[in-house]
Amino acid sequence: MTQMDVRVHADPRPVPAPDDVSRFYWEAAANHRLVLQRCRSCHKMQYPPEICCVHCQAEDFDAAETTGRGVIYSYSVVNRPLHAGFVDALPYVVALVELDEQPELRVLTNLVDVPPGTPLSCGLPVEVVFEERGSVTLPQFRLLGITS
């Protein structure tokens, strides 16, 4: 049995297929670091990765490590399955997190390790954690101060 077979049976949720533009991001995640593109010309960070800077169109980036801290910009709670891979994951929280590094720099994530009954709201501080899903590591976020 291959590792892929193990993954499919162990966790049916989709995983990313890294490409030339995104590989640095997923490789950093595998090392439990949240690293984004930072433009060498205008010094702005961006997410998701692109072939050029969406702020100034320059093409050279540094891979910039973030603190992994931010606040909930918005969130939605999915209580019913929209995809076969997520049936066992219900309910789950999809959140947009605005990172502390830069205004309007937002990352899509799940909000994980939420204790039952915890009231959520926009603006709550969060921090990155890392989820192993098969052979891939996904950055995820949890409420700051929650330990699991």
């Binding site: 989709p14 995104s22 998701p48 939605s76 709670v77 995809h83 997520f86 947009l96 926009c122």
Partner: protein, 385 residues
């Protein structure tokens, strides 16, 4: 005088039967709507030299299919527009441009939808690995079309402006007030705010009554020059102005202006080209694929300022029959059925002609139509002169 290179008129509107069940043949639906629009206009298929349609996939016939089925001799201009445009109005916007530019003289545009193509609930199977931009979306359970996105937009709206859910409920309740007066509408039972607030969550806080209602059905429109229109059956409705917009950082999720996307740019562009202003709107047909979309458009159009919708709309009666801002007078996609933009265009034309019967807005002379939202905005101002 409009802002277009040639004066353009909308001269025919047509509908197929709209249904909530069954699996009718999309070609038959689209053909029925097209024939009905040609008859309404008083033209024949021999007059058609342009066809434009918007599609997700096989739910709508290609322009060539339509040309063959109708017996159109030849097409001088045509396009099948895939779903990065301003929803179904994309076909009509393209038709207006083609006629205005002289690329064709008489354009047929349509949108055909089936429940199977329009329904985003349910458990889809999906890929185990995802590439491109989906790498950063799908692994997090961003699924079901844009349902989760609209949950995020609604949540942020309420947090940003400190507003309750009832603001969105006004749109849902209003749709049924109008659909009660529209025999074609598929959802005609009246709703109360309590019904709205107790409807089930799709992607909390997005409720099922925030979402439009998928139907089997097609809508078609005939567009030609104002010069030709003067000799046709109905008093012509003129395209005063049209606009597209994407907004900065064009994207559904990571756009710069998260709550409005390109709606503000689209409205500004539209009014910059129009011979009338937002204060002149007699009837508004505003995209309502989801209620947060409608609220964003109403503010972007300038009916009120950003974040002011709740105070502006009050108890919602101003949007309904007899109100001073009649909104989505056929019931919109929430209640007439999901007809993707062209439904709004056709209703605007019928209102400006004075053919809406029980739901007619008295002496309507200026209509605004918007379609799509966020990075896929489109709009028109229509006038009866």
């Amino acid at each position: 005088m409009s802002s277009l290179a040639r004066e353009v008129a909308v001269v025919g509107v047509g509908y197929s039967e709209l249904s909530r069940t069954g699996e009718p043949n999309p070609n038959a639906l689209a053909l029925a709507a097209a024939k009905s629009a040609l008859t309404d206009a008083g033209v024949t298929s021999a007059d058609v030299d342009g066809i434009f349609e918007y599609k997700f996939g096989p739910e709508s016939p290609w322009a060539q299919d339509m040309a063959r089925l109708l017996g159109v001799p030849d097409l001088a201009a045509f396009a099948d527009i895939f779903p990065s445009g301003p929803s179904g109005l994309a076909g009509a916007l393209a038709g207006v441009m083609a006629v205005a530019s002289g690329a064709c003289e008489t354009a047929l545009v349509y949108r055909c939808l089936t429940r199977a193509a329009g329904h985003q609930g349910g458990v889809a199977s999906g890929p185990e690995t995802v590439s491109g931009r989906d790498q950063f979306l799908t692994p997090y359970g961003y699924l079901g079309g844009i349902l989760v996105l609209l949950g995020l937009k609604k949540q942020r709206w309420m947090a940003e402006y400190g507003r309750p859910e009832e603001d969105f409920g006004r749109i849902a309740v209003n749709a049924r007030r109008w659909s009660a007066l529209n025999p074609r509408a598929v959802m005609r039972d009246q709703l109360t705010m309590d019904d709205y607030l107790s409807s089930r969550m799709v992607a909390d806080p997005l409720r099922v009554l925030d979402c439009d209602y998928p139907v089997n059905g097609a809508v078609a429109t005939v567009i030609t020059t104002a010069e030709r229109a003067a000799d046709l059956r109905h008093h012509p409705v003129l395209v005063d102005a049209m606009a597209y917009a994407t907004g900065r950082g064009a994207d559904w999720m990571f756009d710069t202006d998260f709550l409005y996307g390109g709606a503000g740019d689209c409205a500004d562009r539209l009014w910059g080209r129009s011979s009338v202003t937002a204060a002149d709107i007699d009837v508004a047909q505003v995209y309502d694929g989801f209620t947060p979309v409608t609220v964003a458009w109403i503010e972007a159009l300038g009916a009120c300022g950003r974040g002011e919708f709740g105070d502006w709309v009050g108890d919602g009666s101003r949007l309904g029959p007899g109100g001073d801002f009649p909104l989505n007078t056929a019931g919109g996609q929430l209640a007439e059925g999901r007809l993707h933009g062209i439904g709004f265009l056709n209703e605007a034309v019928l209102q400006l002609r004075g053919q809406c019967g029980d739901r007619q807005v008295p002496d309507a002379r200026v209509a605004v139509v918007t379609s799509g939202v966020y990075p896929q905005c489109g709009a028109m101002v229509l006038t009866r002169v």
